[in-house]
């Protein structure tokens, strides 16, 4: 081979480097430090039944149907749970089951303690190996929202017990909480939590009874302008807050032109933002933008920032719904001194402060 001697030697050198790195033991030490369990040499027979694909029903497991219709073999005693979605993590903490949470995703940030748990990666593409390395008895996934069906199938194929929730409405969320709590052996806490949350919602309903729904534009993304469809979770949450999207669409995330919004003239504009103040959209920002400033809602300052929890089927949702209801129907709550009410009308901004979203109850 006379052709590219420099290239050849480069390849040899690279091969040597790769081989040397790979056979070094440094990487093993890294993983041990990360907290995932180091390899133990157990023979197959002694393994928990959760890893055996297609195992027949033994006294240690039960066959359940998850919320997407899949049949899953779940152990009676669940001690190690891996959560693949932030709302599930939040629910687990709300149920007081954080001891059983063996791992969650990089994005589980509510409550803050969840960030310290071992991570398995992103929600869309978690590392299957990391999940397996945590030896979970049960993996909880939010199919059709945070997680992909492919991930669920891949884990099932490996013999891991995966239960997929599918909360499309607020009511569905209560069911999911109930299912999760019963799977994890905390049925009582689950019932209690659901009852509490439902009571708050019912109280809200009473307050808002006979009030017309406020027409809002819920902004998912500003540029291009994307809003919500009628079958989304947010749409349901809005209804509980006494509001309704001005856009009726079958698609989940319809894109619309700003002219259309001007034509529809929503009464309020709702943005979601993180908990911190700085990323909320200010009315003053909007007043300086073309087309936006032609909206009546912007003129009178009817711009609301609501927490991201509004899109999360977890207990914190109820706080967000209540917040939003207060913002949209101030006259339904006379005399109530919520922290946001102290702001003068000129820049109405609802930002959730940290304490309001603590899920540890």
């Amino acid at each position: 081979m006379h052709r590219a001697p420099r290239l050849r030697s480069f390849i040899y050198a690279a091969a040597i480097v790769v081989i040397v790195t790979a056979t070094s033991q440094r990487a093993s030490a890294e993983h041990a430090r990360k907290g995932s369990q180091s390899l133990t040499r157990q023979t197959g027979a002694a393994q928990a039944s959760a890893f055996q694909s297609g195992a027949s029903q033994t006294s240690a497991t039960q066959m359940v149907t998850d919320e997407t219709g899949r049949r899953v073999l779940v152990p009676f005693k669940v001690n190690r749970i891996v959560s693949l979605a932030p709302n599930i993590t939040e629910t687990i903490y709300a149920l007081g089951l954080e001891e059983k949470l063996a791992g969650d995703t990089d994005y589980c940030d509510t409550p803050a303690a969840a960030k310290l748990k071992p991570h398995v990666g992103s929600m869309l593409n978690p590392s299957l190996e990391a999940i397996v390395a945590l030896h979970p008895d049960l993996v909880l996934a939010a199919a059709n929202s945070a997680n992909r069906r492919e991930t669920v199938d891949a884990l099932a194929r490996l013999g891991v017990a995966v239960y997929a929730t599918d909360s499309r409405t607020v009511g569905g969320m209560f069911e999911s909480i109930a299912h999760i709590s019963s799977l994890a052996g905390a049925a009582q806490q689950g019932t209690a939590l659901v009852t509490r949350l439902q009571a708050r919602l019912n109280a809200l309903q009473t307050r808002l009874a006979e009030r017309p729904l406020i027409h809002v534009l819920f902004v998912v993304w500003e540029d291009p302008l994307i809003t919500i469809g009628q079958n989304t979770f947010i749409a349901d949450a809005l209804r509980w807050s006494g509001a309704e999207s001005v856009v009726i669409a079958k698609q989940d995330w319809p894109q619309l032109a700003l002219e259309e919004v001007v034509r529809l003239q929503p009464e309020y504009i709702v943005f979601t933002g993180k908990h911190s103040e700085s990323s909320g959209t200010q009315v003053s920002d909007l007043r300086s933008r073309p087309m936006w400033k032609d909206l009546r809602a912007v003129e009178v300052g009817h711009v609301v920032n609501v927490s991201e929890e509004i899109d999360r089927p977890a207990p914190g949702l109820i706080d967000a719904i209540e917040e939003l209801a207060h913002r949209l129907h101030p006259d339904a709550f006379p005399g109530e001194n919520t922290r946001a009410m102290n702001h003068p009308p000129a820049h109405i901004r609802v930002d959730a402060s940290e304490e309001n979203y603590s899920c540890a109850r």
Partner: protein
Amino acid sequence: MRPLTPRRIAGICGVLFALLFVVVVISLRMGTYPISVSEIVTTLFRGALGRRDEIPSEFWLVVFGLRLPRIALGILVGAALSVAGAGFQALLRNPLADPYVLGVSSGAALGAILSLTFAPHVPGVIQLAAFIGAAATIASVYFLGRRGGQLDSATLLLAGIVAASFLSAMIMFLMTTLSGHELRGMAFWLMGDLSTPPPTPNVLEWLLFLFGVFAVAAGMIYATTSDLNLILTGEEEARHLGVNVRRVKLVVYISASVLTGLAVSVSGSIGYVGLLVPHVMRMIFGTDYRLLIPTSAIGGAIAIVLADTLARTVVAPTELPVGAMTALAGAPVFIYLMRRRVR
């Protein structure tokens, strides 16, 4: 004057296979779940001997359930794309040709999107639909790319480019009307993803089927390599020397398109490999297609397995899509190649 002999080809391929084996072992070793090289070798050994019960079930799970199928798929896809790329470069008389230039991957993506819209989550449907999309594109571009009854390189290239852009536009249209969750699955698919689970419960059967298709298509291309060498010096000249140019072009077109369709159906579109691996192999081993096709196949396999290993480990536990890795690595390699063209 040292003409190419089968023995020399076997020798070079032997070296490359050894390199591939090393890369596979390294890839098996890397990952969130810590395993050492000796443990891998023992596991493989025991697995091969059928002594399954002696292997800790996590090993089995991680090595045979997760890593090995992925690596095997990576080998297949890398080999298929590289051979297809080499074939198209000869067919289209264009060193910039890659397997996707004739729109095959766009057709496959369109098939995949349609299957996600109408029959999501049925195992195997997305691969089948993608392959049908690829096949339909292959046929249409063929009929558009003919001139005077046979495939004409320039016309074919134009037809392919038109098909690719038309199909991409349709895909974009459909993606704006898809709902959220399917869309995300599609985005992953488009970026190139080796972790798609096989549609049949038995991974081995699936892999053997795929390799079978690969072997047939690659074999058909290999049978034309003497002809291709001549065609590369000029079609007219090749005709005068007795090459059935029309038939060779048709065989290469169909086989290379089948290989591309195969790769894209199982793993989405992974870019740069089909374009660059043949060039790198040319630089090292020369332009004789009798050697280029096998070395490209093995070289492509090595490239994808490496890229996938990096994609899995670089920001663990998050996994990057393989296509992102090949793009990141591919661009500098491309620049290097451009500056080092052997004159």
